[in-house]
């Protein structure tokens, strides 16, 4: 046990330590598409993996706003590390908010004591990317249950200490009647690799495909319907923390552009620079992105324990819109930074290189595709009486 007292340094300070380690390894992680192990050693050391868990269970009960900020800070150093950390916190949030039995509370205690890393298996082969539909089902067995799932993606599945998987409630349930199942790594969970992860960006997330085979006891199944968990927790927390990753990524690119601009201005103080105006525009976009996230955090926090408000049409539209806007802005900001840095941003062998940032940024609109989100918002707008 690493110790349950509140850590001496603030969450932001500890996130900065992780960010530094992540930044030093970012290029190697990206090139090899490997897990950023050194960043997560540091995160475990700083007890970041249990930040969101209430102190009664051994965590530090950090606010949602502080956790979102720690995501931003880590992503500034390495967007893949930030995204892995964000995805872990999303799973933790589901357990904290919906894990209402002793087995699941023990799982959270283990996350604190052993700094477990949690992964997610929500997508499935043959459902066309619709995570609110499952083909696989929880199958009753002689003792407890079994679950088999063909997962096209389980990010950092090989490094995860536990997986939360969606499945139909019973073999007779329709595709939309889903539950969320907690499956700790060990003899009762097998992940057989079924796909590779060789992508343009976010290469360090190691989001390989797997054939998942698990078994367990009924108390590992969260009692709330996954539809409610999704609306009240998974959807808002995902969109806010993902957007925080993109903000960290955007800030990192913007910082390079800003440094580049100031260096150029020092060389020729008398000459007006086109890059200066571009940087002013970039700064406005960055402010827009920060504002979107701040507003979403405030909205979620204000209704954190109000299931009806979180399940409302207007809240879902807000979170969907955050995802679409933030994922579009991050590409704009990184591209603008590239324009400001010019060839120095384009080159791989320059301190202003922005290749990885640009490749990562393009993933934002594609992972949980914006078209799917816009179609969902369009549906919601048909029932909503206001816009």
């Amino acid at each position: 046990m690493i110790g349950a007292e509140a850590p001496a340094l603030s969450l932001a300070d500890r996130a900065r330590a992780v960010s530094q380690v992540a930044a030093a390894a970012a290029e190697a992680v990206d090139r090899a598409a490997r897990f950023p192990a050194e960043a997560f050693d540091e995160a475990r050391q700083g007890r970041l993996l249990s930040a969101l868990i209430p102190s009664g269970l051994g965590g530090e009960g950090a606010s949602f706003a502080d956790v979102a900020d720690s995501v931003r800070i880590i992503a500034h150093g390495c967007a893949s590390s930030g995204l892995i950390y964000a995805m872990h916190q999303i799973q933790v949030a589901c357990l904290v908010r919906h894990g209402d039995n002793d087995v699941l509370r023990d799982a959270l205690r283990r996350v604190c004591d052993e700094q477990l890393l949690l992964a997610s298996a929500t997508s499935e082969v043959n459902v066309g990317g619709d995570v609110r539909t499952s083909v696989c089902a929880v199958e009753p067995a002689e003792t407890g249950f079994t679950l088999q799932k063909a997962a096209p993606v389980i990010s950092y599945g090989e490094q995860a200490d536990a997986v939360l998987a969606t499945a139909r409630r019973t073999p007779d349930s329709p595709p939309s009647d889903q539950v969320l199942v907690y499956l700790p790594a060990g003899p009762d969970l097998t992940l057989e690799r079924s796909g590779e992860w060789d992508t343009l960006g976010f290469r360090g997330t190691c989001s390989l495909g797997f054939r998942l085979q698990g078994r367990g006891q009924p108390d590992q199944i969260l009692t709330s319907a996954y539809g409610d968990i999704s609306a009240q927790t998974m959807l808002p927390v995902s969109h806010i923390l993902w957007a925080s990753v993109w903000l960290g990524l955007a800030e990192s690119a913007a910082a390079k552009a800003h440094t580049y601009l100031r260096a150029a201005a020092r060389k020729s103080p008398d000459r007006p620079l086109a890059a200066a105006r571009r940087t002013a525009e970039l700064s406005a976009s960055l402010q827009e992105l920060r504002g979107l996230i701040r507003a979403a955090v405030a909205l979620f926090t204000a209704h954190e324990h109000d299931g009806d408000a979180l399940g409302s049409v207007s809240f879902a539209i807000s979170m969907n819109s955050l995802k679409v806007s933030a994922s579009t802005l991050v590409v704009d900001i990184v591209a603008a930074a590239m324009g400001i840095c010019g060839m120095s941003g384009y080159r791989h062998d320059s301190p202003f290189t922005l290749g990885r940032h640009l490749r990562d940024a393009y993933g934002a609109a594609l992972m949980i595709n914006n078209d799917r989100i816009l179609d969902n918002t369009a549906q919601l707008l048909l029932v909503s009486k206001e816009i």
């Binding site: 609110r132 939309s176 399940g311 409302s312 549906q379 048909l382 029932v383 909503s384 009486k385």
Partner: protein, 83 residues
Amino acid sequence: MRDLICSVLADHARLKSDASELGDEDDLYQLGLTSHASVNVMLALEEAFDVEFPNELLRKSTFQSIANMAAALRELGAEVPAR
């Protein structure tokens, strides 16, 4: 009112079971009602009963069962239109 709700469900809910065999309290989400289908159910109910569901009734629970839909429609003063 029940018949009209059932006919809307038969046309739009895309449930596993036959809408005419549903019990008033059956959980339609457990019978396969998706959020996408529930939007179509709501739009069809608005058309059939000439009402508008206000935002505060746009909750998952409103469309969870025939009984809940009937209660919401009564709250909205819906009358069964003459055929």
